[in-house]
């Protein structure tokens, strides 16, 4: 069975989704979701250890040889992404039971879990496939289920947020299809490895730069790079808490993975950065994202929206790391994929706890919560420290590598902006801390600590923030190997 792990990783959740819908029972459907995510986590960890030990795994779907058949390829980079996605999925699924019962009407809960598992399926599919058209199909599976999940939010503005995401997301996906089509017309292949072989011959034509441009715009729309982030703040703010925690820590990460895959594995770093000079576009946008979106975050009154803008800024850090196109820079970017998933997962989950007890995450309703909900707010504080980049947290590790990568290329101002971003993060995190710890609570309101089933997954992520902040050698090791592999592809 281990031979078939790459495909089972995707197929098991894909089959679990209709089962969850057909069972049509809140608890049973939930159990299916937990089982599916746990299976996926097991498969992902197994795949990661296999690839780290023995190199890339190639799996031919249905026995059809590549490049004619669809091939799944698992190498250190996407095994790592798959671990991130499944880890967050396996924590959000148990977390969702209590949280979802509070926020979603009972008749919709089974369908919620079906959409949740489908979204997971799509994200895993994007990560493991070695076929560019397959990427598009899985992208749409994950996006369509994400639209449905966001629309389940209890606020009516969740509907408009979802609609806005649907329009922008579909435009992004269509741009990606155009790019894929133009590549196909020049090379006659859809297999990633085959494309990487054949593209250099035709890269002098006008079609390939156009394909490259369409793909760049489409993918950066999906990963919410400034200024294509407009769908993100509303979607994160009004989605149910469990959905926000899941999507914020996985969907944009998988899109960043796609960016890496297309620019480094398929087009190759030489074409992307020397010929198309991608860094000249990515780096300024990333820097603007870090500063401008952190500033916007400071002025938010809704903590979920504050964290959403902070996410756009954090995506800036990942893209900044990528734009250096050096081993250190890529390591920083890939590390931050994982670290930011831990950080934002913990923060959004703690906000889900607040939502559960208080019914709102607006700052004026959070006065004195530090005493009423000590564990929840402690989780937020640790997550916040990690977001700022305080030593002993994962945020520090990412920024350390990012600053090193900037200094390696002598870019002092860029390193300065990274540190400025930390300062701004301190300001918006402090804003929440101040309200929760230093304002008097309304004595008439009796708010108790969130239930254990919400706190436990939150604290697993919080402890992850600390563990991988103190003992970063494993995560750095994997990220470095992935970075070396991506850059090695060009020679």
């Amino acid at each position: 069975m281990t031979d078939h792990l790459p495909v089972l990783l995707v197929v098991v959740p894909l089959v679990a989704a209709p089962i969850a819908a057909l069972l049509n029972h809140p608890r049973l459907s939930w159990a299916v979701a937990v089982a599916a995510t746990l299976w996926a986590l097991y498969a992902a960890l197994e795949l990661l250890s296999q690839t780290m030990a023995a190199g890339a795994i190639h799996y031919e779907l249905g026995g059809w040889a590549a490049p004619y058949g669809i091939e799944y390829v698992v190498d250190p980079l996407n095994a790592w992404v798959v671990v991130i996605v499944t880890l967050i999925g396996a924590l959000v699924a148990p977390y969702a039971r209590v949280s979802v019962e509070r926020e979603i009407t009972e008749d919709r809960i089974p369908l919620f879990y079906a959409a949740f598992i489908l979204c997971l399926t799509g994200l895993l599919g994007i990560a493991v496939t070695g076929d560019v058209f397959n990427v598009f199909v899985f992208l749409e599976i994950s996006s369509l289920s994400a639209y449905a999940l966001i629309a389940l939010g209890s606020d009516r503005r969740a509907l408009t947020a979802s609609f806005q995401y649907l329009i922008m997301g579909s435009v992004g996906a269509t741009f990606i299809v155009i790019g894929i089509g133009l590549m196909y017309v020049m090379t006659g292949t859809l297999n990633m490895a085959d494309l990487a072989d054949r593209l250099p011959e035709v890269s002098g034509t006008r079609t390939i730069p156009v394909a490259f441009t369409f793909l760049t715009v489409g993918i950066t729309l999906k990963l919410a790079l400034f200024p294509l982030h407009l769908w993100l703040p509303n979607a994160y703010t009004y989605a149910p808490s469990a959905v926000t925690a899941f999507i914020a820590s996985t969907a944009t990460k998988v899109a960043v993975y796609l960016l890496l895959r297309f620019f480094f594995t398929i087009f190759g770093a030489t074409f992307s950065f020397d010929v198309m000079q991608l860094d000249r576009i990515l780096m300024p946008l990333a820097l603007i994202a870090i500063v401008a979106m952190s500033l916007v975050a400071i002025y938010q009154e809704n903590v979920k929206r504050l964290l959403a803008y902070s996410s756009v800024a954090q995506i800036g850090y990942m893209v900044l790391g990528i734009s250096f196109a050096s081993v250190l820079g890529l390591t920083a970017g890939i590390l931050h994929l994982f670290n930011h998933a831990l950080i934002k997962g913990a923060l959004f989950m703690s906000m889900g706890c607040v939502m559960y007890r208080v019914g709102s995450v607006r700052l004026e309703r959070m006065h004195g919560l530090g005493r009423a909900m000590p564990w929840t707010m402690a989780a937020f504080v640790v997550g916040g420290l990690s977001l700022i980049g305080v030593p002993l947290t994962v945020g520090f590790i990412s920024k350390w590598y990012l600053v090193q990568a900037a200094l390696e290329q002598g870019m002092w101002p860029v390193a300065g902006v990274v540190l400025l971003g930390s300062l701004l993060a301190l300001m918006y995190v402090w804003k929440v801390v101040e309200v929760a710890y230093f304002r008097e609570a309304d004595p008439e309101l009796e708010i108790s600590e969130a239930p254990l089933s919400l706190l436990a997954p939150t604290w697993v992520l919080v402890l992850g923030n600390l563990y991988f902040g103190i003992n970063a050698s494993d995560s750095v090791d994997i990220a470095t190997r992935a970075a070396e592999m991506l850059l090695g592809a060009l020679s």
Binding site: A151, R156, R157, F163, S170, Y184
Partner: protein, 117 residues
Amino acid sequence: MTALGLFNYWAVIFLMMVGFYTLIARGNLVKKIIGLNIFQTSVFILYITMGKITGGTAPIFVEGGEDVIYSNPIPHVLILTAIVVGVATSAVGLSLVIRIKEAFGTIEEDEIQDESL
């Protein structure tokens, strides 16, 4: 190739721009979905056009015809998938429009924005 020989591609560009413009400029949510559909349709035509090979026939195996030229069927198959995706997107989008109409009483973007404040 003459400009006329690229007729399909001109049609693709025209439809793409019409769809994209509608999507951006119209405030009515149903019209936005229609714009999105036109935009996606242009990509369908792009794919179908690139499968055509000059002098090629339909890709059905011809008995004993060794030098028959076939059109490339793969783009057609690919776009069949994309059409399904497009239908699903429209379905989700339109059902969201219905829910928005129920929640806000309107499907005009500016009126929804006034309502949301």
